[in-house]
């Protein structure tokens, strides 16, 4: 079984290598448009075949694991459905300290997330064929998606923390490369750099957390770490350090600022990396090491505060954005904070359930948004409106997606969000009231911003104008038709998943059961939020309903000026410091070196005064010397 797991991880990697190397010929000036088209088609085949292979193998593996022995009660939540487990170690690397074991493992948790990753990755690959048609850099683009898929699968199936960290960082690299795909525009390039650096800052803490666990447990293997008997103080330190990496990768407060900017990448990338998979990796890693976090209550309290601030703040920011993709980006931060809140409340089951449904419906929303942007030629909702008639399939898909996001039954989000809120409601802890209040408020705001985006995009007066020349960052010009077939199929697939995954998770996977009392409360709150927006919109459809925020609208739109504060607190001082270092290096450090050189020359000038060629002076000196020696001999002798 472990060979299959290895193959699942390696297939996309092979596709990435083939795509990067195989698209380079014919080289040089003889290259024509036709060669480019061929190279793109070749690259698409590599990516899709490998993705399909991984998907089939994953399904087989899940089947194998589900037929294993049923787990004992009290074990992990996936023990009932996917009780099997496979683990294999390729080799042990001696480092002179704690060894690194190159280990892969497949169990219920990695299976659940693994399926999500391969399904969304394949959907995005197929979708990208249409979305990126005519882009000369499509081969490298699809290869980087394959590389990302492989890295994410490595994180999911890693059996050793260092192996996991390798995949974790490669994901960050792919995110950087893909956000900066349209690098001609400096803004995209800057967004890519920002995304990499902010997550890297968190990853430094993450790596130190791994060190703390590995050195204390004497092994980096996840099973050894989980079964080791670690002192409480070590657990708290380690989990807090890990939390830095989680906050970076999952765009949680205080490292959330990179995600909205990351929307500079092509929309399919936003669907895959910045909505469904990579940003969920932080949640996954907490669930993976959940026994450790349960042993460190202070960490969970910190996580609860982070989640409470993040979910409400991001939802409010989403309500004020004009860029459709940025609405979805802030919504992702908010939904990830729900998962973090569930983890803080002690329910990894609810968190993973919401991770799965969110992966499906947010990917769906982004792919639909991509179709809309493809159609309109702009990201801004003020350029959209009345698209319901022109884009029926996209409209249906997006409606399902927004219903799931708001948590309306029977869409999947209803069940998973209910599980999360029920878990938070029934939890105990110093931060619980704060978290619960924030979660309920956020449900209302979510209803409001989802309704606003839905209404502003598909209803009201049409504001579509054909753009003469598409700016970089928007691939296509308005052509008045629905997106090509290859883009609609993935939307259809994800729409089905977003609709049914909740019921399936309830019925088949046993991921939760509906807590009707809390479900009714949150449903009412969500509808209330949506209703207010609808009423406002109804009164004047051409004006943005975000005006309900009143004087808070601008702070919300600017995401509470966090970016500006960070730039003033960190970015600019670092650059000032850097310039200071360069000056110091020239003036002080190297100045000392040059100064010592000048000093030597100066001293030699002094000594040279004695060597003036005057024989009389030399003889006088000689005699003086002899006299001194004689006196010394007499006195001391």
């Amino acid at each position: 079984m472990i060979a299959v797991t290895t193959l699942i991880v390696l297939l996309p990697l092979a596709a990435a290598a083939a795509g990067l190397l195989g698209s380079r010929w014919p080289r040089g000036a003889s290259r024509t448009e036709r060669d480019n088209a061929f190279a793109s088609r070749r690259a698409a085949w590599f990516a899709i075949v490998a993705g399909t292979g991984s998907l089939l193998l994953t399904v087989w593996l899940a089947y194998e694991l589900s037929s294993g022995r049923a787990g004992a009660p009290g074990g992990p939540f996936w023990g009932g459905v996917l009780p099997g487990k496979a683990e294999g170690t390729l080799t042990l690397i001696e480092t002179g300290s704690v060894p690194i074991s190159v280990t892969l493992r497949a169990d219920g948790l990695s299976m659940l997330v693994g399926i999500l990753v391969v399904v969304v990755a394949l959907a995005v690959q197929v979708y990208s064929v249409g979305y990126m048609r005519g882009d000369p850099r499509y081969p490298s683009y699809s290869a980087f998606i394959s590389l990302f898929t492989s890295a994410m699968l490595l994180v999911v199936y890693a059996g050793d923390l260092i192996v996991l960290y390798v995949g974790w960082e490669i994901m960050g690299l792919c995110s950087y490369l893909l956000i900066g795909h349209w690098w001609e525009d400096r803004a995209n390039s800057r967004a890519a750099v920002k995304a990499f650096l902010v997550t890297r800052l968190g990853d430094v803490g993450f790596l130190f957390g791994i060190f703390t666990l590995g050195v204390a447990a004497g092994s980096f293997r996840i099973d050894d770490v989980l079964s080791a008997d670690l002192p409480r103080s070590t657990l708290i330190t380690a989990t807090l350090l890990l939390l830095a990496g989680v906050a970076g990768k999952s765009a949680q407060v205080p490292l959330q600022t990179w995600l909205p900017d990351a929307m500079a990448g092509p929309t399919p990338i936003s669907a895959l990396i910045h909505a469904a998979t990579m940003v969920a990796a932080g949640i996954f890693i907490v669930a993976r090491l959940y026994p450790l976090f349960l042993g460190a209550q202070p960490t969970l309290d910190v996580l609860a505060v982070i989640a409470a601030i993040g979910m409400l703040g991001a939802a409010l920011a989403a309500l004020a954005q004009d860029d459709l993709k940025r609405v979805l980006a802030y919504s992702t931060i908010s939904q990830l904070a729900y998962m973090a809140g569930a983890l803080a409340a002690g329910s990894d089951k609810a968190a993973i359930f919401h991770l799965l449904t969110h992966g499906a419906f947010k990917a769906l929303l982004f792919l639909c948004a991509g179709a809309v942007i493809h159609h309109v030629g702009s990201n801004l909702m003020s350029h959209m409106g009345g698209l319901r008639a022109g884009l029926p399939v996209t409209f249906a898909g997006m409606t399902i997606g927004f219903a799931a996001l708001m948590g309306l039954p029977p869409a999947s989000g209803f069940f998973s969000k209910d599980a999360v809120i029920a878990a938070i409601e029934h939890s105990h802890g110093p931060a619980q009231p704060f978290l619960y209040g924030s979660a309920l408020l956020t449900v209302g705001v979510t209803g409001a911003y989802a309704a606003r985006a839905w209404l502003r995009t598909f209803f009201g007066p049409a504001r579509v104008e054909a753009l003469p020349e598409p700016p970089p960052g928007t691939a296509h010009v308005f052509d008045g038709r629905e997106a090509p077939r290859s883009m609609l199929w993935p939307i259809g697939l994800l729409a089905v998943l977003a609709l049914l995954l909740g019921i399936a998770g309830l019925g088949i996977a046993g991921l939760g059961d509906v807590d009707w009392s809390s479900a009714v409360v949150s449903l009412v709150v969500a509808l209330l939020g949506a209703g207010i927006v609808y009423a406002l919109w109804r009164s004047s459809p051409h004006i943005d309903p975000a005006r309900l925020l009143g004087p808070f609208r601008v702070p919300c739109e600017r995401a509470f000026y966090v970016d500006a504060v960070y730039a003033a607190l960190f970015a600019r001082p670092v650059f000032r410091l850097a310039r200071g270092v360069v000056r110091t290096d020239e003036k002080v450090v190297d100045g000392a070196v040059r100064g010592s050189g000048r000093l030597t020359v100066g001293l030699s000038g002094l000594v040279r005064l004695a060597q003036n060629g005057n024989a009389q002076l030399y003889v006088t000196g000689l005699l003086a010397g002899v006299l001194l020696i004689a006196v010394a001999a007499v006195v001391f002798g």
């Binding site: 040089g28 080799t91 690397i93 001696e94 480092t95 002179g96 300290s97 704690v98 260092i162 960290y165 390798v166 974790w168 960082e169 490669i170 690299l173 950087y176 900066g180 690098w183 001609e184 525009d185 400096r186 995209n188 390039s189 800057r190 890519a192 750099v193 990499f196 650096l197 890297r200 800052l201 430094v204 803490g205 790596l207 130190f208 060190f211 703390t212 050195v215 670092v574 650059f575 410091l577 850097a578 310039r579 270092v581 360069v582 290096d585 450090v589 190297d590 070196v593 050189g597």
Partner: protein
């Protein structure tokens, strides 16, 4: 089999001698490739003959009296610590010759350059093979003279000053090093490194160890270089020709850090224990200082030179922990830095050759558009250098930090955990300066560099040429403008049209480095399996 090591030294030496005797060889560059190729083949044979079952033992030894009056012996041999470095040296030299076949530095005298590089190779390989303290010192010094000429004859505009600074600085360091070696000799009564290492410092009193470690350490730290003894490095790198920069970064710096692993720490353990906190402190200051200096650099080659200060800081931090894992980290970091920074300097040289400048403001942006291959390779090299897992640069940094998390028992743990935290900040800063550089140079739209033509009289005109996007330092005088105009080669730069992308010779020289960077990144065991037993032997740990 001990003749293999002698052959490893003899082949380039004889090759250089033949150049002196033979009046006229047809193609000097082909000759250089052939000689260094044979040397590389011998190095590979050495690697094959090496007994991987016992990498902790000295192998393929030659031990003959050389100057009996001084008790000086010609003692060669290698173990898991020196093997990777010796092979790396042979490989990098060979790749430099391949690169030279087409891309010749200005300054002509091809024949003299080949001769100089071959002598340089003898010294570099000899340093890694020598097992006698004075023999080590002799090879250590042999390297300086050819490198001085490489910089002074084939270097850039300000080459003389850089070369003089290089040689004076490093000679001064060598003098201190020699004093330290002689102190060891005086105390221990032998010059044999194997013998000395086996004693683990017994027979040398603690105070003498500290003094000797200080002297040897300072001597090696100049070469490594350690902050604040680094200022010769940026000048030397900026002015040296491409092959000079590659060998300087790829091999010469390693001779300093190799000295720590081979002499300073095994021979003088008590001295090391006393001074390790200072070494660690200077190392982490170097990491942060080097990264910050990179962040504000304008010249590409100078930036890569400062990045070496940061990377070698990680190597020194590894040594300072006095643990097997830290030493492993340092040795891994050495090899990785040699591969990656070698590649970076190759690429920077190629860029300078094409654009006529390495000044980032004048390079403009959009290199991925103008030179897609070189731009992609530059991206790869930078990503590798910033320590991305899965590429070679990561393991050295990661293991050094792991070593600092739990240093040797004699050292203060809180102090080293602080070092680890500072080093961690350094990794983030490293990523920052590389990505900012990539963003400036490879992304964006190509803009015209200053073309040749009528002289521009004012700074305003220059700024117009460079476009409003790019920050440009105001150019005050007409002379500076003239200089800038001269630097842009005629014809092929303006408009961004006809720059030649990567050539076959460049690819041949670079692909091995790329492949090895990936290999050691995904399979670090290839290197760690060789070094770990040797390192454990130093610290007397049996696995």
């Amino acid at each position: 089999m001990s003749w293999l090591l002698i052959a490893l030294l003899a082949v380039p030496l004889i090759g250089a001698a033949v150049l002196l005797i033979a009046p006229a060889l047809g193609r000097v560059s082909a000759y250089g490739i052939a000689v260094s190729g044979v040397t590389l083949a011998v190095a590979v044979a050495v690697a094959v003959a090496f007994d991987y079952g016992h990498p902790g033992r000295m192998q393929l030894q030659t031990n003959r009296p050389w100057i009996p009056g001084l008790d000086l012996r010609f003692h060669l041999g290698l173990d898991g610590i020196s093997l990777p470095l010796a092979v790396l040296t042979a490989l990098l030299t060979f790749l430099c010759f391949v690169y030279l076949a087409r891309h010749r530095p200005e300054g002509g005298r091809q024949r003299a350059l080949v001769f100089t590089l071959l002598v340089l190779e003898v010294g570099m390989i000899g340093t890694f093979l020598a097992l006698d303290l004075l023999l080590f010192f002799v090879f250590f010094e042999v390297v300086l003279i050819p490198m001085y000429f490489v910089i002074a004859v084939w270097g850039g505009r300000d080459r003389r000053r850089a070369a003089v600074k290089f040689i004076l600085y490093t000679l001064l360091g060598s003098a201190v090093l020699l004093l330290g070696l002689l102190a060891v000799w005086a105390q221990a009564g032998t010059l044999d490194m194997v013998d000395l290492a086996a004693r683990h410092g017994s027979g040398i009193p603690r105070s003498a160890q500290i003094v000797a470690f200080l002297a040897i350490g300072v001597g090696l730290a100049v070469k490594t270089p350690m902050w604040p003894l680094h200022t010769w490095l940026p000048d030397a790198h900026t002015e040296a020709p491409t092959v000079g920069s590659v060998l300087l970064a790829g091999v010469l710096l390693k001779m300093g850090s190799y000295g720590f692993a081979r002499i300073a720490i095994p021979v003088l353990p008590e001295g090391a224990a006393a001074l390790a906190p200072w070494l660690g402190a200077f190392a982490v200051v170097g990491i942060v200082y080097g990264s910050l200096a990179c962040l504000a650099q304008r010249d590409l080659k100078r930036m890569i030179a400062y990045s070496s200060v940061g990377h070698m800081g990680f190597v020194l931090l590894g040594f300072a922990t006095l643990t097997p894992v830290g030493m492993n980290a340092a040795l891994f970091g050495n090899v990785a830095h040699g591969l990656i920074t070698g590649l970076l300097f190759f690429i920077a040289g190629a860029i300078k050759e094409r654009y006529g400048t390495a000044d980032m403001a004048r390079l403009g942006g959009g290199m991925l558009r103008r030179l897609p291959y070189i731009g992609s390779l530059l991206t790869f090299a930078c990503i590798a250098s910033l320590g991305l897992p899965g590429l070679a640069g990561f393991w050295g940094e990661m293991l050094a930090l792991l070593g600092a998390y739990k240093p040797a028992a004699v050292l203060s743990r809180p102090l080293f955990v602080t070092f680890m935290a500072v080093g961690g900040v350094g990794t983030a800063l490293t990523a920052a300066y590389f990505l900012v550089m990539l963003s400036r140079v490879t992304h964006g739209r190509p803009i015209d560099t200053v073309p040749a033509g009528p002289l521009m009289a004012s700074a305003e005109e220059v700024r117009e040429f460079l476009g409003p996007d790019e920050p440009v330092e105001p150019v005050a005088t007409g002379a500076a403008v003239e200089e800038a105009a001269e630097e842009a080669p005629t014809g092929d730069v303006p408009g961004g049209g006809r720059l030649v992308d990567v050539t076959v010779y460049e690819l041949a020289a670079w692909v091995p480095l790329v492949a090895l960077t990936i290999l050691f990144g995904v399979w670090p065991k290839a290197l760690l399996a060789v070094t770990t037993p040797a390192v454990q032997a130093i610290f007397g740990v049996t696995s």
